[in-house]
């Protein structure tokens, strides 16, 4: 059966069109994909990316085949994300943390304005260049922020709704998977 995002309730209440994306039940759109995409490109949008596979690596960086990406959090700690399931052998330094974290993609020219209402982290282009990763506090909870096609915000699943609401209050508008795929350039098989 399908895997459920921590933001499922919000999607239901918002009457999103839910479909299967790589085994996850996620909103394809809330109103209409192209207008959602337009809105993101004009200001700031948030999209549920909880389907991303995530691995926690406590050791020296290891190569993972695309579309997986490695994010260095500290010299001894990295996070691996991928829109596809990651092939790996569990070990004492490699842990599957897919279920632990929710992921919200914040994108659009006003993304930084939104973040600056919620975190003391310096999110300027200079302080957080493309492909950088930071661990910090956002909306009073811990977050991992990854800079890529916008900002990918990871939180423990139990506070996903809280963070989503904080981002909405700060001015971001929801956009669905169709628009998300157009932004990130990755197509899921199922939808």
């Amino acid at each position: 059966m399908e895997r459920q995002s921590p933001l499922h309730h919000f999607h239901l209440e918002a009457r999103a069109q839910l479909k299967n994306f790589s085994g996850w039940q996620l909103p394809a759109w809330y109103s209409e994909p192209s207008s959602e995409l337009e809105q993101v490109r004009a200001s700031a949008g948030i999209s549920d990316a909880s389907h991303l596979a995530k691995l926690d690596l406590r050791g020296p960086a290891v190569e993972f085949p695309l579309p997986a990406r490695l994010w260095k959090l500290t010299p001894a700690h990295a996070l691996v994300t991928s829109p596809r399931t990651i092939d790996f052998t569990p070990s004492s330094i490699l842990t599957d943390v897919t279920s632990i974290y929710s992921a919200i993609l914040l994108a659009g020219p006003k993304s930084r304005e939104v973040l600056r209402k919620l975190t003391t982290l310096n999110v300027s282009d200079a302080a957080m260049p493309e492909s950088s990763a930071r661990q910090t506090r956002l909306a009073h909870v811990n977050a991992i922020i990854l800079r890529s096609d916008g900002f990918l915000i990871l939180n423990t699943r139990d506070v996903a709704e809280h963070v989503w609401e904080a981002l909405l209050h700060a001015g971001a508008q929801p956009f669905g998977m169709i628009a998300q795929q157009q932004l990130t350039g990755f197509r899921h098989e199922d939808a």
Binding site: S5, P6, S92, H140, D158
Partner: protein
């Protein structure tokens, strides 16, 4: 364009474009803006720079708003303040103004903004602008904060300078953290707290003008020169026809021609020392001096300038312009003899007169800090701006001390004051939800908070007849019976779950827990306790051996962060190799318990659940409802049961399947009763910050034959010492009251307290656990509990209340 109109005490006032509320009110003829807090003296405009309390009004229900800083806007509802204070309830003045409404829930929109700059310049005047341009030209990112709606001098946009208008800085804090409030006058009630981290800070806030002290200096119509000039030049208002100037000759001379040019007749310029009093009842009509009386409807004080640096507190900042003392004359502050009168108001905010100050000094309190604390001078809205200079010099004059000896009060931010609302921001406190949260909602969950987590206290979808049984009791009883007689399921996802793996995993657990874990067989689960160095119980939980170098820990809901940090700390300090992962949010956990639990669970899994194959305190990996799961055969409620853990994204589905297989959902309250009947402690409820295992009746947890563990030395010593208190079970006689948390008394003095008290459906009476003296710990002893001034008699019970042999668990 529509005229700007607002309400003032019920009447309509029309404002000109560019007016502040204060200037619009003054323009419309208002001279008494408020009454003083203590003595009800009429007060009018004084400074017009936000440095005094006189123009404060109530705006749309918000009190103490400085009307001189508030741009006039249509639709505002403004009321004066303090009209009822100490003036007698039948005073005609009281009946003139409507009473201000009580403070209500704020409809303000507060935001926070966190920014970083190389340089923050406070003050957009000439020196501030100069400092900003200088830094920006060096390639630095600069923030320029200006409290007015526009800069005095227009400036070309510069990519390195971000200008914040309507932005009042209230403080510079440790680490060059600058706090400021920016108001968006375009929207009603919108304020943003700016939290700026700066590489360096320049304070260019200028200097403010302060008043002179003489009898009736606080009469409306007695104004500081800055205020008079602002009314004339900013608002085109001529504040009087005949004026007397007070101050030194040079400053008065400069001002005089400016006033004459505006059409004001300057009757005289007088030296401060010759002033006797201002004359008038609700407004000034003249000035009495030692050399004669002058008729005037305006008295202008050319007061001394004081650098405005209070907001910097103790922080190291650069000062520029007036804030650095530029243009601030060094002339001594003069006090006339009438400064000591009861009508010479030094502190306008708290109505402290010169006479009050003198009395205080003569009573032996001759330091400004003592004067401040005794009279309250300087403790209110203007933060000493109008009173401190006068008070210090008066003290020096009367006591004979030097200015240095009299001292200065310590200035610290926030200056000016800042509302709590804007500091708090939008009310958006984190809420933690389990994967089954909305299903609990649908089932009629009555929620409780456990830290940031929401948990169902019980479920209720019905009403109940009969007066004696409360709805909660009824629902909890249904859940209780379901667990004791059939099968219930509870969402335990909030409990902490930590994975520890690596070469040193077993070694670390041996160190921090009281039991051995490196010797625990794979497939087994063991309950243990975590102590601190003093042998105090910090947390408890189960530890499962998953494989050679991997363990799975559970903790209480509230302690997972602590336990995680504790484990990380020891590993870091000892240089041990392991990976510790907090899995709590990633797993949905539910506990199925009851004599029919096996039947219910067997419908969902092929795993052999018989006791022969799956004994108590074993774990297995199996598919449950088609989802990979970890099953742990553990129990907290004293019935046969399994804890099912699945990946969080499947929690919702699996919970639904478990319900359909026949388990009834039960909440925290039912669980509390069930476990109480087994006398299972809850750390933090039945134990406190000093409880050790021996006094809690759990001495068996301490494996003192282990080479070393945290708490061993203390526990070894505690084991030898006589107990000072004991945790026991008890039953109440003849009442259904539940004095939960009440003290245990001996001869009226508290010797302990009842930690958990509930009605037991097994015993058909109220039971509980309590800390008592060792002498009381024997079964059958009568103890007294007191709640709400009522004494309850209870019997100490040594046995547990349900299934003493423990057979139900292992069926």
């Amino acid at each position: 364009m529509d005229p700007i109109q607002f309400h003032w005490n019920g009447s309509t006032v029309t404002a000109e474009p560019g007016d502040t509320v204060a200037s619009a009110l003054y323009r419309s003829g208002v001279r008494t803006f408020t009454y003083s807090y203590q003595h009800g003296r009429p007060r009018g405009l004084l400074c017009l720079t936000g440095s005094c309390p006189n123009c404060m009004v109530n705006v749309d229900g918000v009190p103490n708003v400085r009307s001189c800083s508030l741009p006039a806007r249509s639709g505002l509802s403004i009321l004066s303040q303090n009209q009822n204070v100490y003036r007698g309830l039948d005073s005609p003045a009281v009946k003139r103004f409507p009473v201000a409404p009580p403070l209500s829930e704020s409809s303000h929109h507060y935001e926070h903004l966190y920014l970083q700059f190389d340089v923050v310049v406070v003050g957009g005047g000439a020196s501030g602008l100069e400092a900003a341009l200088e830094s920006a030209s060096q390639g630095k990112q600069v923030a320029l904060l200006e409290k007015e709606p526009r800069l005095e001098q227009a400036v070309q946009p510069h990519p390195g300078i971000t200008i914040f208008l309507n932005c009042s800085c209230f403080g510079v804090y440790e680490g060059n953290l600058v706090g400021a409030v920016q108001i968006d006058y375009g929207r009603p009630n919108a304020e943003t707290l700016l939290h700026l981290r700066a590489g360096s800070v320049v304070v260019a806030t200028g200097a403010f003008e302060t008043q002179y002290l003489f009898a009736n200096n606080d009469l409306p119509g007695v104004m500081l020169s800055t205020a008079v000039l602002r009314l004339i030049h900013r608002h085109g208002i001529v504040p009087g026809q005949r004026a007397v100037l007070i101050g030194d000759t040079e400053r008065c001379a400069g001002l005089s021609s400016g006033l004459e040019a505006a059409g004001i007749e300057v009757v005289a310029g007088v030296a401060v020392e010759s002033v006797v009093r201002a004359r008038g009842k609700d407004h000034v009509t003249g000035l009495v001096t030692e050399t004669g009386t002058y008729e005037a409807d305006l008295v202008v004080m050319c007061g001394p300038l004081v650098p405005d640096v209070g907001l910097a507190g103790a922080q190291v900042v650069s000062l520029a312009g007036g804030a650095a003392g530029e243009g601030v004359a060094d002339s001594p502050y003069v006090l006339p003899s009438s400064a000591q009168s009861t009508d010479a108001i030094a502190c306008l905010c708290m109505d402290v007169s010169g006479h009050d100050v003198v009395e205080t000094i003569e009573a032996g309190m001759g330091h400004v800090e003592l004067i401040k604390r005794f009279t309250k001078l300087g403790k209110s809205a203007c933060q000493g701006r109008m009173c401190q200079t006068a008070a210090i010099h008066l003290c020096s004059q009367v006591s004979g001390q030097s200015i240095a000896q009299v001292g200065k009060t310590v200035a610290r931010p926030p200056a000016p004051p800042v509302t709590l609302g804007v500091l708090a921001g939008m009310r958006h406190h984190p809420v933690r939800r389990t994967p089954m949260h909305y299903q609990h909602d649908q089932l009629g969950a009555v929620w409780m908070d456990m830290g940031d987590w929401k948990r169902p206290r019980y479920y209720c979808k019905e009403t109940v007849e009969g007066p004696a049984v409360s709805l909660q009791d009824h629902c909890v009883e249904q859940e209780y019976r379901a667990v004791r007689e059939r099968a219930g399921v509870i969402d335990v996802s909030t409990l902490g779950k930590i994975e520890v793996k690596g070469d040193d995993a077993g070694r670390l657990l041996d160190l921090v827990f009281t039991h051995n874990f490196s010797t625990l067989p794979i497939g087994r689960v063991r309950y243990s306790v975590l102590c601190d160095e003093l042998g105090t119980i910090v947390d408890d939980g189960t530890i499962s051996r998953m494989d050679e170098q991997r363990y799975f820990l559970t903790t209480t809901t509230g302690n997972v962060d602590f336990v995680h940090q504790w484990l990380e700390w020891w590993a870091a300090a000892l240089g041990w190799k392991l990976t510790i992962t907090n899995l709590t949010a990633g797993l949905a956990s539910m506990n199925v318990a009851g004599p029919m639990a096996r039947g219910v669970l067997q419908k969902l899994t092929d795993c052999d659940l018989s006791t022969a194959s799956f004994p108590y305190m074993d774990w297995r990996q199996a598919s449950v409802a088609g989802v990979p799961a970890t099953l742990m055969r553990i129990g907290f409620v004293g019935e046969m049961g399994w804890e099912i853990a699945v990946a969080a994204e499947y929690g919702s589905y699996v919970w639904e399947q478990v319900l359909q297989a026949g388990a009834l959902p039960f909440g925290v309250e039912a669980q509390r009763v069930l476990r109480l009947e087994k006398k299972h402690i809850i750390v933090g409820v039945d134990t406190d910050a000093l409880s050790n295992p021996y006094e809690a009746g759990m001495g068996w947890v301490a494996k003192l034959d282990k080479a070393d563990f945290i708490g061993k030395v203390a526990l070894a010593r505690l084991k030898q010492n006589p107990l000072e208190r004991v945790l026991v079970g008890f039953e109440l006689e003849g009442t259904n009251a539940r004095p939960d948390g009440s003290p245990v008394l001996v001869d009226g003095a508290p010797v302990g307290w009842a930690t958990s008290v509930r009605f037991s459906w097994e015993k058909e009476k109220v039971i509980g656990m309590a800390w008592v003296t060792p002498a009381q710990a024997k079964g059958g002893t009568r103890i007294t509990l007191r709640a709400d001034a009522v004494d309850y008699s209870a019997n100490v019970v040594e046995d547990i209340f349900y299934d003493t042999a423990g057979d139900r668990l292992k069926m």
